[in-house]
């Protein structure tokens, strides 16, 4: 009897506390909104000398190299670089938590609208370099070149190629089966979106069952360790343990190796510009950084990191 009344009392108290928790939840979202809006105000605040640079995993090494070099030139500015993927950077741009968002793809029109609505400012786009998207296979794979159509058949949902023998590769030393092991990226990656658009075709999807890696580097590492694998990743992530395959636009056309020259003259079919976005007009601090990136010293670092610098014209 006593137990029952006690329980009743306690459950009442629990319910009350639950209500309080719900109320505090609500309050919490309000405060986060407040911090978000103060963060968007940050770029106009001249005393703030830290630049938040978030986004593309393809560009994260490059962004880090820039930030380090620039830190030596301008010690009063600290640039905080983090990766996560182009999607993460763009989400941060929309939420106003990034001063610069890195993206290995262009902003989608819907994202542009969203950013305008959220921050009240028009995001500014800066092209900072190019990247060739290299097709990697394991070192023991005898394949030398591949066409975009073949790549699409391998990666597209409903595509016909599932075995290396479909491509005319008889045997790969060390591979335990004939299956093509498709290595891909997680679906918020700019590389994933770009590859889908250019190689697979805009209206189609990836074949299910690919190994979706969380980083550009992971793709290359996994391909290096898996004899039957194929993967795509930025040219800057090439190592000595993998083989880069030449790519042709169509079967029969000459296949091209990704390199600075072939990316710049557009003979390499899967290369893309790299972007940095700012929410609205950048403040002087950020502007100085971006113009340093796009000028000679910044572009030298682009080349050093294995990417393709902007055409000097």
């Amino acid at each position: 009897m006593i137990n029952a009344t006690l329980m009743l009392r306690w459950s009442g108290a629990a319910l009350l506390a639950l209500g309080l928790l719900g109320a505090s939840c609500k309050r919490k979202t309000e405060t986060t909104e407040a911090t978000v809006s103060s963060a968007t105000a940050a770029p106009t605040d001249k005393k703030k000398e830290s630049i938040q640079n978030i986004g593309s995993d393809t560009m994260v090494n490059l962004a880090q190299a820039w930030a380090e070099e620039y830190g030596k030139l301008a010690p009063n500015v600290s640039i905080e670089v983090s990766g996560g993927g182009s999607g993460v950077g763009i989400a941060a741009l929309i939420n106003g938590t990034a001063n610069i968002a890195n993206a290995s793809r262009k902003l989608e029109p819907e994202e542009l609208e969203k950013a305008k609505k959220q921050t009240g400012k028009e995001p500014q786009e800066f092209m900072v370099g190019y990247d060739g998207l290299a097709i990697y296979v394991s070192k023991s794979n005898p394949i030398e070149e591949i066409s975009l159509e073949d790549l699409s058949e391998i990666y597209r949902e409903g595509g016909k190629f599932n075995k290396w023998s479909d491509l005319g590769i008889k045997s790969i030393p060390g591979a335990k089966s004939d299956d093509i092991i498709r290595v891909s990226r997680q679906n918020n990656s700019g590389t994933y979106h770009y590859f889908r658009e250019v190689v697979i075709c805009k209206k189609a999807d990836y074949k299910s069952g690919s190994l979706d890696m969380n980083g550009s580097k992971d793709v290359v590492e996994l391909v290096a360790k898996t004899p039957g694998a194929i993967g795509y990743s930025g040219l800057g992530y090439a190592t000595g343990d993998v083989k880069i395959v030449k790519v042709s636009k169509k079967k029969g056309e000459p296949a091209v190796m990704p390199a600075i020259a072939s990316v710049l003259d557009k003979t390499y079919p899967i290369s893309r510009p790299l972007f940095m976005y700012t929410p609205g007009e950048p403040d002087p601090q950020v502007k100085a950084y971006l113009s340093w990136i796009m000028a000679e010293p910044g572009q030298k670092i682009v080349e050093k990191s294995g990417y393709v610098p902007l055409n000097k014209k």
Binding site: W10, L21, K176, L211, D212, T226
Partner: protein, 319 residues
Amino acid sequence: MEHEVVTLGAQPTRRSMAPGGDAARRRMVESLTEHVLEWVIRLCGISAILFVFGIFFFVLREGVGLLFGDFSLWKFLSSTEWYPTSRSNVRYGVLSLIVGTLSVTTTAMLIAVPFGLGAAIFVSEFCDKRAKEGLKIVIELLAAIPSVVWGFIGISVMNPLIQTVFHVPVGLNVLNGALLLALMSVPIMVSIGEDALKAVPDSFREAAVALGATRWQVIYRVLVPAAKNGLLAAVLLGVGRAVGETMAVLMATGHAVNIPHSVFDPVRTLTATIAAELGEASVGSPHYQVLFLIGILLFSITFAVNLTADLIVKGVRRK
């Protein structure tokens, strides 16, 4: 009297002169602290309930909105097509992810339960005291390894190892994830299982030995049945750890949306999907809500596991 009690605190030199007032004061303070402490402890007790409900409420609030639209729950649970960011045909089917989680967890338990319980029996029944202390320290050390480190081991050590030992094309697969999960849940099983066996009174052992039972018979016929509840709790806590583990399985299972046909196929789990995709999904979008729906699903799975455990334990107790 009353007045003196109040002023006493400010004039400690007079304390010795008023022993009666001092005792009354101490009594009052004691009963007050008693009360406060009791409340604090009560609050600690119910805070677990509050947090569970709070978290459930939050996850539900973020995800449940989707269920009222033209979203089909049946399709969500029965379709294997997971294309949350498709430009042409967005599909949210989590069957492959559910199967992924279940396959990794089951395989992990098949490995971990014999090992974990065996180790618990060894530590509690066969070891001498020094070896026991040493083993316990090492096992606890095993539990302290962060899951990212396990994932690392999965990628760099187990991946090539599984490829060469089993002659399979991919080393990142169900088996890899399951081995890591087994290694991660064994320490929990050992320490809880060992406690359960230790709790069996020595008189049980003595009686069994006196009846002429061999060591194996003592363990199999007496100790394990007597410690059944605790051992079951150990196993189920291990299962809970395995279902909820994220980082290691994200790295070691290959992260491929795929219904596995053998333990050598790569899969993707529910937890890994949330971890990999939540960062990008814009707040409030269908993709975001679907990820929270997956959260609700995970919550329900662990809730079901715990409830079954409770019911089984209660059923065992009644007998």
